[in-house]
Symmetry: none
Subunit: 113 residues, 2 copies
């Protein structure tokens, strides 16, 4: 369902990060799945609350925040990287991007390429 260098999320509910299996609860998994399905896009709070929780618009609750926190924590060092908060709107799952080496010269292509 989602897979990159560090993280894999299976539809079956199993999640691995850096070969370490995460044990997520149902809600935690559904939340992560919802975000990952929309990787790169902002998912507004009210959308998460309605799809994952079935809450209707305008329900005042901190449940979402608490679940986000627990997800991030279980994901360890990469938690904040994968799950970004978009102030005043919602959250966004960001795909892992391998850090590029910083080029001090403009790249030169070898003849073999």
């Amino acid at each position: 369902m989602y897979r990159d260098e560090h993280l894999s999320i299976e539809m079956t509910g199993s999640v691995e990060i850096d070969t370490r299996g995460l044990t997520l609860t149902r809600k935690e998994f559904e939340l992560l799945a919802m975000l990952a399905r929309n990787a790169g896009e902002i998912v507004p709070r009210n959308v998460l609350l309605s799809t994952v929780w079935g809450y209707c618009e305008g329900t005042r609750t901190r449940t979402l925040d608490v679940h986000i926190r627990r997800l991030r924590r279980k994901m360890g060092a990469l938690g904040e990287t994968y799950i970004q908060t978009v102030f005043g709107i919602g959250y966004r799952f960001e795909r892992y991007r391998a850090p590029r080496p910083i080029l001090t010269f403009s790249p030169v292509y070898s003849a073999s390429a």
Copy 2:
């Protein structure tokens, strides 16, 4: 049908654990068989209740739990090892894994291998 170092489950209904024969009732056997057929996978409660019992979705009953318990008990020390509960979802039959010795050296392969 299933066989490992400690446990064997025959389609005929006979089950042995560490050379000791278990006498399971029909429901107990069907439940174990259903789990073992899906070894390594989570089998949700409602799937077990519908395939083994023929109950339709949403039936509230503790029968499954009681049968799981009796199975585990009859299996003795390995009961909890083989039959794992996945909270909020169902149960999973886990294959026996021989404990690996901890390597203090990196393994060296002999010429005979």
